[in-house]
Subunit: 216 residues, 4 copies
């Protein structure tokens, strides 16, 4: 796929780069070690020292690249997560949403990837830098994908032009995140279909559900 590790703190200034360049092997060894430990023991039990030891790398080589445990974990998470969220185009809104949500559920329900996702959302609450990175690399990416589904549906005339896309997307993923995080009920196929049905119905109803003051 594409290069995903956009988070790493490279000097970024695109300059001439003096001195010994950062080793790509080291980079990969760290990410792999982090991913392994994340899957084995979870985010909470992840320590920089263990990552360094497993990757056979000095701690400084980690701190040089990632400012916090959270952002390192995010990178490790992304390398697994993104591969499992395929581009979707079934030619039909209900189909698109259904496939997208199903893929997401399959990736996170009962998996270590899911547990990591949850931990990252949690961590982002206290680490502002991570919060930004999370929104840019996960939330924004997902929303762009979904927005294009909805745009296609609008183009096809399935739903009204003035739909509030943001709310629709939150109503699609919100309930799923909710079950994942609260764990009160399972993320079944049936759940996915019911949610999609309600959202699609709501979307088609469209401005029949007017924002209180023609939207703020």
């Amino acid at each position: 796929m594409c290069t995903i590790e956009t988070v790493t703190h490279q000097s970024a200034t695109g300059a001439k780069k003096k001195g010994r360049p950062r080793s790509e092997e080291v980079q990969q060894a760290i990410l792999k070690a982090a991913a392994t430990l994340l899957a084995e023991r979870g985010f909470r039990a992840l320590t920089i020292e263990d990552v360094a030891a497993l990757a056979k790398v000095g701690k400084t080589s980690i701190y040089r690249r990632w400012p916090s445990k959270g952002i390192l974990a995010l990178d490790a998470f992304l390398s697994e997560f993104l591969l499992l969220q395929p581009p979707i185009d079934t030619g039909d809104l209900a189909g698109d949403l259904s496939e997208a949500l199903s893929a997401w559920v399959k990736t996170v329900a009962g998996t270590s990837t899911g547990r990591t996702l949850v931990a990252l959302v949690a961590e982002a609450q206290t680490d502002p830098e991570l919060a930004v990175a999370w929104r840019e690399t996960v939330v924004a990416r997902a929303r762009n994908q979904h927005r294009s589904m909805i745009d296609r549906a609008i183009d096809r005339g399935e739903i009204p032009r003035d739909s509030d896309v943001d709310v629709l997307m939150d109503m699609l993923y919100g309930p799923a995140y909710h079950r994942l995080l609260q764990g009160h009920l399972p993320l079944t196929d049936d759940f996915v279909h019911q949610v999609v049905a309600v959202v699609v119905a709501g979307a088609k109803a469209g401005s029949a559900v007017p924002s209180r003051a023609a939207k703020v």
Copy 2:
């Protein structure tokens, strides 16, 4: 109000209780200190040592009552949170849901209570004991409240008898939790009304949206 601190580890064996009884003042001092520090610095920066120091209490007096930082924080959280979730009965489903969700939003959006809630959801991912306590004292309590709203709506004939209440409730609170946790968009009044509208519409449509195989 009622006694909320159901979490505290009392000897429980209802026995005759020999020796010096636990001091209620100590209990309250700890909870107050925890709440203060939670509001000031957040869950992550909360340490048992700081709580003990602020409450002028030995660490053992905390560990004697609460098995973990998470459960202590939950108790401190509850004492603030529950007071702000009033019982609701407007005589109308949309009105009930709208008021309930509005009250929730008011309590958590941009407040330290909201930040603590998020941290507790996160913490519950790794602390099973906290996860249980969380579901029992927060999730179950809320769902009972909402279930009775929906039952009343069914009795009134507003929505079909075979509605999937669980999914409806997840679609009401899921999007709200989503915005709170991801922080990508604000929790506005407008958002609340749109969500309620779609959920109510979905509920009224009812089995017109059949579960894939007449429900499992």
Copy 3:
């Protein structure tokens, strides 16, 4: 003998002592471990972490008592060194000085104690707290011992009453320290006797060597 570990940072304020008292076993385990490592590997290779590991003790238990590696080493050094500097009274100045210097030479020449002594002198150059402790526990103690020798010699009429005791003592130990530190020549019995002879002769000549009165 007497209690030597005068350096340890006890609260000292002779107060009521609240909380759990510091364990004497821990104290001794640390000192023993430090002494062992000092003998085995020398001061430079001495690590707080290794001491903690060998003594089966947390690092904090060391930092709680000793403010620096140097002062810990000083305590460990003293417990060995002081036992080997016996009180001396031969009834004769030359005899006293000779025995004292011999005992010192025997203790430090070619021994790990000697190497530690040197390292401590070195360390004291940069650690003012250690410098003070060193002067109080080693230098002052030795000088008191020697001063009483000289006082006895004065009382016996061996040397004049107005002798410059300080210079005499520096001329006794200075050359010995010099050979120990510079390592250019060995600390032999012969060396001891020659130094003692010159010092005793100098002492007896006494004010024949006028201090400042005739000056530069």
Copy 4:
């Protein structure tokens, strides 16, 4: 003056020297930076990295020339120290010794040069390579100078031919080093004169103080 930096690790293999020759500017920049930092912050706080940074030089350029921090510091020290130890010939033993010791005291008492000297003596205890270099460039040099003073005194008939020159020299410098290192008493002019007086007296007494077995 003369080239003093005899310590530097030149390729040494007297060969034809291929490739780019080592820059003299780099050499001097490093020594100057080292001397500056030594004076400013002392030996202990001296870092190869800081020297490299201040001299605007790569760390490798330092390691290529000096095998250790100690030897680099020795070179920096020598460039200051040697200039201040002039050749002496007053035509009289007491005068020679007095002038030599006075010059030494003036150079090291309360100066950064003195502090560095002490640190080097200390460092030499653990760094054998430095110990050798120290003895060769400082101790031996000084002893040669003094030996010639004493030889002249013997030639003049001031002191007996069979004097133990080594012990005399240790008795001259030992007490001075002692006060410098232990810091228990100041290095005054008076001290210098008393020491010289005793040493000269001892020297003149000569074999009246016979080594125990006609010397070993």
